[in-house]
Structures are given as structure tokens and as C-alpha cells.
Amino acid sequence: MSYLVNLEKFYGPLDLLLYLLEREEIDIYDIPIARITDQYIAYIDAIGYSDLDNIGDFLSMASYLLKLKSRMLLPVYASDDEQLEEGEDPREELVNRILEYKQFKQLGEYLGDRYEDSQRIFFRYGQPEAESLDAEIASSIKALLRAWDGLITRNNTEIEFELPQGEAIAEKMDAILSRLPADGLPILFGDIYGENSFRREALIYFLALLELIRLQKVEALQESHFGSIKLSIRVAIDNVNAG
């Protein structure tokens, strides 16, 4: 009798026991414990511990079987802690566990068949239709623009932004200088490009401003992070340099 032929996986010690009982055509109510224990242990040895999941569970069953085997050999000297009633079969607990397990194993197989069958039924795929049901719709241009902005931001990750070049910047530099009071009083940068201006336009203004600061024609003061930028013309230097 070779145990090596069977390399199928068992899902637990009870599964293995059940398999051995069925293979040996053993009456479950009269299990030859010694024989089954030997086969069980031989099987685990043959397969090698490393091939079995839950090896701890398999081993604790092995030790339970060994205990049972010794008790069967010496029925009279039942140990104190597990006193047996007169006429009680020490195998009863094992039998009940195997029977109970067998039942659920079969139910599992039954569920597996049902599962196969139910793969032939389709339910509705995708999201429910909720959004197309409204009788009256409330929305706003703001919401619409936010949606558009979200889209742009998403798309922008792939789009290379083209920096504005020379001419446009020179034009804005002039625009900034012409707006600054000649007496050096400060003015808000935001007021120059206007709050409603387009983002690209604002960027050009900003580049123009940087250029003016670099050329020391304009002084910029930002009192806090993200605060507004105050600009003033650098009168003296400008005059000197221009002269």
C-alpha cells in the first residue's frame, strides 16, 4: 500500500481522516483506531510536513489519535481526568466530529454546484441609474465651471505648459510700469492684472513683474505668505539709471 500516490491536498486533518476511512471502506462507527492512526501518521510523514498547510492542526490530530490508540489498548485504565462512563466508547467523540465534518464538506460541495449554476444568471452591471431620474435639476454655472476646471487639472498632468515668451512679457512690463504711481506709493499687484483676468494672463504679468524686480525697476513687498503683493516704483534708482 503506497501513500505516496495521493498527493491531493487535504483541507484539514478531518478531511484526511475521512479520506482514509473511505479508502479503506471502514465502518465509521467501528473505526480500527490503531490502523487508522498508523496510516494517518504515515501519510503525514510521506507527504512531508512542509507540503501541508496548517501543519499544527494535522499534528494535534495525530497526538489525539495516538492518545486514543493507547486508550483503546488499555480500556480498563482510563485516566482520571477523562473518566469514561461504563460502556462508553472512547471513539465516540472522534466519530461525531468526523460525521459532523463530513456533512459540512458535502454541503460545501453542494454550494459549489449551486455556485456554478448561478454563474448563468446575470444581474445588472454598472451603477444604478439614479442620476437620470431627476424631474427638476438644480445646478449652477459655478458647479459647471468647477467641473471644467477639474477636467483641465486632470488633463494638465500630461500637457506641457508652454511658457510665454519675450514680446508678451515686455508688453506687460510696460503695462505694470505705466500703472505704478510715479511718487513711489505702493499699489497691489492684484489690482494691476485684475481679478477677472485669465490664468495665462496672470502668469505673464507675474513673469513681467519678476523681470522688473530683477532689473530693480520695481520693489515688491509681500507681507505674508500668499498675501497680496505690494508694488512700488523705485523712483530714485530708475531716474539715475535712465539718466
Binding site: P13, D57, Q103, G108, G112, Q119, I121, F122, F123
Partner: protein, 175 residues
């Protein structure tokens, strides 16, 4: 009170639009129907859907209803929609069987019956939505108790848990 044809149309619209199970309770409220009336209408609708030209039908699911395709169109539908084939391992099926029949049941009890550790299987079943926690057992350690979900019934095409086969020796196994 709506006309009968209107009620049926509304039920069809509701079940289609939701795509999910709708409980009898919800339907009764929305349609302002009594339970007997609703059940009668659902029976009539089952006959309507049974006609040859129809590809969908309404399934009973755990005291509610859900719209689904008829089995006989499986081969054609699967050409276009791949069933979300979640494979269930024998271990998962076995564990489900224990939970279905013994719910609410603790992990310890499931492991006692199966004889193996079952943590991974249980968390997999929860993730799939097939089982859920159903409170805690009032014993020391307060172990979590598990039970099956609507999704479990849906996946196994069961209207109720009663449709599961009876256990032969139920009495002696219940503790």
C-alpha cells in the same frame, strides 16, 4: 392608488433602476400597497416575465426582489459580459456551509468543526461580502459571531436560507 398596470410598470422601473435587491417593505411603502396585494402582483408579473420574448425576470431574494437575466440566455450574455468569476475554494465553500447552517457562529466553533485555522478564509469571505459580523457572543472574550448576507443568497441563487437542504441529523449536532 395606482392602476394595476401602472404598479407593474413602476415595479419594473424600480427593480431595473436600482439593479439591486429591493425589500418587500420598501416596495409596499413606495407603491402604497398591502403585503397581500404586492405578493399577488409579483406572482402575476412572474407569469408575464415567463413569456418567450422576455430575457429578464424577477427573483425572490430574502424577503425582497431583484431583477436578473434568465438562465437560458447565459451563453449569449456571457459573450458580452464576462461574469465576475470570483473563485471560491473548497475551504471557502466549506466555511460558508458551516456559517450558513450554524449562524450566528464564532470563529472558534467554525474551526472546531473544520479542524483547521480559518482566519484567512473568514476575512476573504467578508471581503467578498458573503458573510458579515453579527454582533458578539455574550461569553468571556466576547467572540465575534458571523452570519451570511443578502449577497450570499444572491450568489448562490437562493431566495431564502430555507432553500438550503435540510441536515439529516440536525438534532444531535446542535450544541
Amino acid at each position: 392608488m395606482l392602476m394595476r398596470a401602472e404598479i407593474k410598470a413602476s415595479i419594473e422601473a424600480l427593480l431595473f433602476a436600482s439593479g439591486e435587491r429591493i425589500s418587500e417593505q420598501e416596495l409596499m411603502e413606495i407603491l402604497q400597497l398591502g403585503e397581500a396585494d404586492l405578493k399577488e402582483i409579483m406572482r402575476e408579473m412572474a407569469v408575464d416575465y415567463n413569456q418567450a420574448g422576455r430575457g429578464i425576470r424577477i427573483l425572490n431574494l430574502d424577503g425582497g426582489y431583484i431583477m436578473a437575466t434568465k438562465q437560458e440566455h447565459a451563453s449569449i450574455v456571457s459573450q458580452m459580459i464576462k461574469p465576475v468569476s470570483r473563485r471560491l475554494s473548497p475551504a471557502a465553500l466549506e466555511t460558508l456551509a458551516v456559517i450558513a447552517y450554524r449562524q450566528p457562529v464564532s470563529k472558534t466553533e467554525i474551526e472546531r468543526i473544520r479542524g483547521v485555522k480559518t482566519d484567512r478564509v473568514i476575512s476573504g469571505l467578508i471581503e467578498k461580502g458573503l458573510i458579515k459580523e453579527m454582533g458578539r457572543k455574550p461569553v468571556p472574550g466576547k467572540p465575534v459571531l458571523y452570519g451570511t448576507t443578502h449577497e450570499f443568497l444572491k450568489v448562490f441563487s437562493l431566495s431564502t436560507l430555507d432553500e438550503l437542504p435540510r441536515l439529516e441529523n440536525e438534532e444531535e449536532n446542535i450544541d
